[in-house]
C-alpha cells in the first residue's frame, strides 16, 4: 500500500513547461477582440443616441425657417436627420456586422469626428459643443488601439484647417484668426491624443501581463491535471492490486475454511459415531475428551475465521425481515441449557415496545447474543443472567437496545477499556480457566458497528457486568400480523407466583398484570404456603419454579394438591433436569413449562388449563404440555428416508453414511455432482445431501441441473447443502441455487437430524420410529 511519503513532492514550474508565448498571444487576441467588440457595441449605442440627440437639438434650436408668416422645416432638421443618419449608418452597420475589424474602428473614428463637426454646426458653433471632440477621442481610446486616434485627429485637423481658411469664425469664434490657428487646436487634440495613446499602450501592456499570468496558470493547471491523472492511474493500479490481494485473501480464507472443516468433519463425526458404540468406561472417557477438544477447536476456528472475515472486510450483512421476539427467545432457550447446568437463572425480558417484525441481520444478532450470553454464563457461578430487550427511537428510525446482565465475577475498570480489543480477555488467566480465543467480544463489537450500532460494558468487580448493545432496525416491507395475546378470559383471576429469583418474579408479575390477572408473589415455598393459607379467597392458579432452596416446587405442589385441591399448578423448570416431568406429573401439576418461559406459551398454557374441565382438562392439559416439552427437548427425528449423499471425501462419506444409517435411513453415496444427477434420474430419493466443492461437477451446478429437470417431471426433491465453505454469502448462494437448507462442516449429528427432519417434513409426512 503506497503511503503519502512514498510519493515524490508535487512540483509545478511554469518555466519548465512548454513555451506559453503562443497561448499568451492567443489570450491577448481574445481579450482584444472582446474589447473591440464591446467598444463597438458601445459606439453603436453612442452613435444612435447622438444622432437622435442631433435631430432633437435641431428641432429644439431651429425647428422651422420663416418667410413672413409662413414657415417650413428648417434645413438643419433635415441635415440632422439625413446627414446625421449618413454619418451614423455606416459605422453602426460596421459595429454590428464587423465589430472587431480595424476598418470598423477607423470608420467609427472618422464618423465620430464628422458627427462632432455636424453637432458643432447645428449648435451654431457653440464652443461648448467642441467638447464632443475630446469626449469622442477619449471614447475611441476604449478600443485600446492608439492607431484609431490617427484618422480622428486628421479629420479634426483638416476640418479646422479648412474652416480656419474659409470660415474661421465657425471654429475659432473670431474673424481674425491666424491661418495657423488650426495648429493650436490640433495641438490640443494631439495633447489629448498623447495621453490617450499612453493609456492605450498601458492597457495593452496590462493585457499582455494578464494573459501571461493566465497562460502560466493554465500551464500549471495542465501539469497538475497531468500529474493527478498519473497519480490516479497509480492509485487505480494500487487499488486493483489491493483488491487482487483481498480476493486472494478471501480465496485463502475460503480454502482454509474448507481445508480445516473437512478433516474436522471426519474427526467429530467419527468420534460421535464411536461414542454410540459399545465402549468401556475408559474408552468412552477418552472419546468424550476427544470430542470436547474437537468442539473447542471448532469454536476457535470459527472465531478466527469470523474475525479474519471481518478484518478483511468480507463480512456482508444479510438484512432481511425477521421476528425478533421469536429469535431472541429461541436463542435464550438454546443458551438456557448451559445456564441451568450451572444452576443459573436465565431470564429473557422482551419489552412490549419490541416490534413483532423488523428488518435486520437476524443471524448476526443471534451470534452477538450467543457470544455475550455465553460469556455471561461462563463467568457467572451463582445468581442469574438476564437478557433485556427494548425498542427505542433513534433519529428517524428505531433501534433495539439489548442488555445482558449477569451476577458474575465482574470486570475491573482497567480491563473494561481493553475488553473489546482482539485477543483480550478480562483476565488472561480466564482464557486458561474458561477457554475461548478472546475474540468473541471483538467479533461482537465489529458486528454491532457493522450494523450501525454500538456496544459497551458496565461492570463492578464481584458484583457482575452488563453488556449493552444497540442495533438499528428497519421497517419490514410486509410486516407480519402482530401477535394478539387474548387475555380477556383471565381478567381478575388471582395467581400466585412462586420463584426464588426476584427478576423472574418481577417479569412474571408484569406479564400477568398486563393480562388483567392479580399476581401474588412469593419468594419461597413456605412463603407461598403462607399466602395460600392466609388468603380469604381460594387462589385458583399457582405458577411455581421447581428448583428453590428449602422447599422446592415439588414439595409445594405436593402440599397444594394435598391441602387445597382446587388450585391448578403450572411448573417452571429448566430442561436440564431429567425426571422433572415425570415427577411433576406424579404430583398432579396441571402443566409444565421450560425456562426461560415464553410469554406466549405461558398465556396459552394458563388459558388452556383454566378452560379445561376438571374431568378431562387435566389429562388434556398434560398431554399438550408433555407434547410441547417433548417437541422442545426431543424433536422426533425423521426415519426410514432414502437419502442420496454426494460427497467426494471418503472420510466424510463414511461419516455421513454411518450417521444416517444409524438414524434408520437408507443411503446411496456418490462422489461428484454428475454422479448425483445420474442417481437422481435413476432412482427416487427423499433427500439429497449435496457437498458443494466436488471434482468434475460441483454442488451448485448439480443442484441447478436437478432443479431444471424437475420442472419437466413436476417434482421437487429436498436438497441440503453440506459444505466446508462457511464464508460470506455461501448460505445465500446455496439457497439461490435451489437448495432448501445449508449445513456447514463439520457436520454435527444433532444439527443434521434437525435439518433432515425440518426439510423432509415440508415435503412428506415424516415417518417416526413410533409409526
Amino acid at each position: 500500500m503506497p503511503t503519502a511519503e512514498s510519493y515524490p513532492i508535487l512540483t509545478l514550474d511554469p518555466n519548465t513547461s512548454d513555451d506559453i508565448t503562443p497561448r499568451v498571444r492567443e489570450l491577448v487576441e481574445e481579450q482584444q477582440n472582446r474589447n473591440y467588440t464591446h467598444t463597438s457595441r458601445l459606439f453603436t449605442i453612442l452613435m444612435l443616441v447622438q444622432w437622435a440627440a442631433g435631430i432633437a437639438a435641431a428641432i429644439w434650436i431651429s425647428p422651422r425657417t420663416w418667410a413672413g408668416s409662413t414657415s417650413q422645416i428648417h434645413l438643419h432638421v433635415w441635415l440632422a436627420l439625413l446627414l446625421g443618419g449618413a454619418l451614423t449608418s455606416l459605422p453602426v452597420f460596421l459595429t454590428i456586422t464587423r465589430p472587431r475589424d480595424a476598418f470598423t474602428r477607423h470608420t467609427v473614428a472618422v464618423c465620430q469626428m464628422l458627427m462632432s463637426a455636424l453637432l458643432i454646426h447645428l449648435s451654431g458653433g457653440r464652443i461648448e459643443t467642441h467638447f464632443h471632440v475630446f469626449g469622442s477621442l477619449a471614447f475611441l481610446a476604449y478600443y485600446r488601439d492608439w492607431r484609431v486616434l490617427i484618422p480622428a485627429t486628421i479629420v479634426v485637423a483638416v476640418d479646422h484647417a479648412a474652416r480656419g481658411v474659409f470660415f474661421p469664425q465657425s471654429v475659432f469664434g473670431i474673424l481674425t484668426a491666424s491661418p495657423w490657428r488650426w495648429l493650436e487646436h490640433a495641438a490640443w487634440v494631439v495633447f489629448e491624443d498623447v495621453i490617450l495613446v499612453k493609456m492605450c499602450l498601458q492597457g495593452v501592456q496590462e493585457m499582455w501581463e494578464i494573459a501571461t499570468r493566465q497562460a502560466s496558470i493554465e500551464s500549471i493547471s495542465l501539469q497538475l491535471e497531468d500529474k493527478v491523472l498519473k497519480r490516479t492511474l497509480e492509485l487505480e493500479h494500487a487499488k486493483e492490486a489491493a483488491e487482487a490481494a483481498n480476493r486472494a485473501k478471501s480465496e485463502f480464507l475460503a480454502n482454509m475454511s474448507h481445508e480445516i472443516r473437512t478433516p474436522m468433519n471426519g474427526v467429530l463425526g467419527m468420534t460421535e459415531l464411536a461414542l454410540d458404540t459399545d465402549l468401556n468406561a475408559e474408552q468412552r472417557e477418552y472419546l468424550f475428551v476427544a470430542k470436547s477438544s474437537a468442539d473447542a477447536l471448532l469454536t476457535v476456528i470459527n472465531d478466527i475465521l469470523d474475525f479474519s472475515k471481518i478484518e478483511a472486510g468480507m463480512l456482508d450483512l444479510n438484512v432481511a425481515d425477521c421476528q425478533p421476539r421469536e429469535s431472541i427467545e429461541e436463542t435464550a432457550r438454546t443458551l438456557a441449557l448451559s445456564a441451568h447446568q450451572k444452576g443459573l437463572e436465565l431470564v429473557c425480558d422482551i419489552h412490549s415496545s419490541v416490534p413483532d417484525s423488523v428488518r435486520c441481520d437476524e443471524m448476526r444478532v443471534r451470534q452477538i447474543l450467543v457470544n455475550l450470553v455465553g460469556n455471561a454464563v461462563k463467568f457467572t457461578e451463582h445468581g442469574e443472567v438476564v437478557i433485556s430487550v427494548e425498542a427505542k427511537p433513534r433519529g428517524d428510525g428505531t433501534e433495539l437496545h439489548f442488555a445482558i446482565r449477569d451476577t458474575g465475577i465482574g470486570i475491573s475498570p482497567e480491563k473494561q477499556r481493553t475488553i473489546f480489543q482482539a485477543f483480550t480477555q478480562a483476565d488472561s488467566s480466564s482464557t486458561r480457566r474458561h477457554g475461548g480465543t478472546g475474540l468473541g467480544l471483538t467479533i461482537s463489537k465489529r458486528l454491532v458497528e457493522l450494523m450501525g450500532g454500538r456496544i459497551w460494558v458496565e461492570s463492578e468487580l464481584k458484583r457482575g457486568s452488563t453488556f449493552g448493545f444497540t442495533i438499528p432496525i428497519g421497517v419490514t416491507a410486509n410486516p407480519s400480523e402482530p401477535l394478539v395475546l387474548d387475555s380477556e378470559s383471565l381478567r381478575g383471576i388471582s395467581v400466585l407466583v412462586v420463584d426464588d429469583n426476584a427478576t423472574n418474579r418481577r417479569l412474571l408479575a408484569g406479564w400477568l398484570s398486563r393480562w388483567g390477572m392479580r399476581p401474588l408473589l412469593a419468594e419461597s415455598g413456605p412463603a407461598a404456603v403462607k399466602i395460600l393459607e392466609s388468603s380469604a379467597e381460594p387462589i385458583p392458579l399457582v405458577v411455581t419454579d421447581v428448583h428453590m432452596p428449602r422447599m422446592d416446587g415439588f414439595a409445594l405442589v405436593q402440599y397444594i394438591k394435598t391441602h387445597m385441591r382446587s388450585a391448578t399448578v403450572v411448573m417452571l423448570t429448566s430442561g436440564s433436569y431429567s425426571g422433572d416431568v415425570a415427577r411433576s406429573r406424579e404430583l398432579g401439576a396441571e402443566a409444565y413449562l421450560i425456562k426461560p418461559v415464553r410469554q406466549k406459551d405461558l398465556l396459552q398454557t394458563i388459558r388452556r388449563i383454566l378452560a379445561a374441565s376438571p374431568a378431562f382438562g387435566q389429562a388434556a392439559t398434560w398431554r399438550d404440555s408433555v407434547r410441547q416439552l417433548e417437541r422442545t427437548l426431543h424433536p422426533r427425528p425423521a426415519f426410514g428416508l432414502r437419502i442420496l449423499v454426494a460427497e467426494d471425501n471418503l472420510n466424510n462419506q463414511q461419516v455421513a453414511l454411518s450417521l444416517l444409517t444409524k438414524q434408520g435411513h437408507s443411503v446411496v453415496v456418490v462422489a461428484d455432482g454428475r454422479e448425483a444427477i445420474e442417481a437422481v434420474e435413476r432412482e427416487s430419493f427423499d433427500l439429497v445431501l449435496m457437498d458443494i466443492q466436488m471434482p468434475d461437477m460441483d454442488g451448485f451446478e448439480a443442484t441447478e441441473r436437478i432443479r431444471a429437470r424437475e420442472k419437466i417431471t413436476n417434482t421437487r426433491i429436498p436438497i441440503v447443502a453440506m459444505t466446508a465453505h462457511a464464508m460470506t454469502g455461501d448460505r445465500e448462494k446455496c439457497l439461490a441455487a435451489g437448495m432448501e437448507a445449508y449445513i456447514s462442516k463439520p457436520i454435527r449429528r444433532a444439527e443434521l437430524i434437525e435439518v433432515i427432519t425440518r426439510v423432509t417434513a415440508k415435503v412428506k409426512p415424516v415417518l417416526t420410529p413410533d409409526s
Binding site: 434650436i61 418667410a67 413672413g68 441635415l79 449618413a86 455606416l90 464628422l114 469664425q169 473670431i174 474673424l175
Partner: protein, 200 residues
C-alpha cells in the same frame, strides 16, 4: 442577407463606401453653403425718415434691427446686439422691430427672441404689424441692422453675424463699434443671415 453578402464583394463594398462618402460630402457641402448663404440684401433709407415710428437719438446714434420673432438664426443677431450694447451703451439707442403678421395678435410676436431683445438694456422691442416698418426701411431679412448717426444719416447696414445662426466675431459688429468710436470701418455693408421678413 443578400445585401450583406453582396457587400462582401470588394467592388460592391468600395462602391458603397464611395457612395456613402459622396453623400456625406454632399450633405456637408449643403450645410456649408446654407450657413454661408446670406438673405436678401436691404435697400435702406439713406436718411432717417420723418415718419419713423421712433425718435432719432439725440446726440446718439440710432440702431434699428428688423427681426422675425421665430427666426432661429436671429438668435445669434440678438446675442451680437447684446454685446454691442454692452460695449457702447452710452452711444447708442437701439430698437428692434419684430415682424407681426397683420392678422395676428401681439402674442404671436412674444417669443423668447422678443424677450431676449427686450431684456437688453437700452434696447426697445417694437411690434411691426404686417412688416410695414421693415418695408419702410427697406429691410427684407431678419437680422437686418441699420445704424444712423445722430444726424439721421445711415452709416451702416447689414447683418451682425458671420454666418447663419453663428455667434461670435463678425464684420458687422466690428464695423458698428468702429463707427460708434468715431472710426472708419473697412466695410459699411455686410451680408445678412436670417429668415425672410416677407412672405414669398
Amino acid at each position: 442577407m443578400s445585401v450583406l453578402a453582396s457587400l462582401k464583394k470588394p467592388a460592391v463594398a468600395v462602391a458603397a463606401v464611395a457612395l456613402w462618402v459622396a453623400s456625406v460630402g454632399f450633405g456637408m457641402s449643403v450645410l456649408w453653403r446654407y450657413s454661408n448663404t446670406p438673405g436678401h440684401a436691404a435697400t435702406p433709407l439713406i436718411d432717417w425718415p420723418a415718419d419713423a415710428p421712433v425718435q432719432l437719438g439725440k446726440g446718439r446714434s440710432t440702431l434699428v434691427m428688423f427681426a422675425h420673432p421665430n427666426c432661429p438664426c436671429s438668435r445669434a443677431s440678438i446675442g451680437e446686439l447684446a454685446i454691442l450694447m454692452a460695449q457702447a451703451p452710452e452711444k447708442l439707442d437701439a430698437h428692434v422691430f419684430f415682424y407681426l403678421p397683420a392678422n395676428e395678435s401681439s402674442a404671436w410676436a412674444r417669443t423668447d427672441l422678443w424677450e431676449s431683445a427686450r431684456s437688453i438694456p437700452g434696447v426697445q422691442a417694437i411690434e411691426d404689424p404686417g412688416g410695414a416698418f421693415a418695408l419702410r426701411f427697406g429691410a427684407f431679412t431678419s437680422g437686418q441692422t441699420l445704424l444712423y448717426n445722430p444726424r439721421g444719416r445711415l452709416v451702416f447696414h447689414g447683418g451682425i453675424t458671420a454666418a447663419r445662426g453663428h455667434s461670435g466675431d463678425n464684420n458687422g459688429r466690428q464695423a458698428i463699434l468702429a463707427l460708434l468710436q468715431g472710426g472708419s470701418p473697412e466695410r459699411n455693408v455686410t451680408p445678412v443671415f436670417g429668415c425672410s421678413l416677407r412672405g414669398e
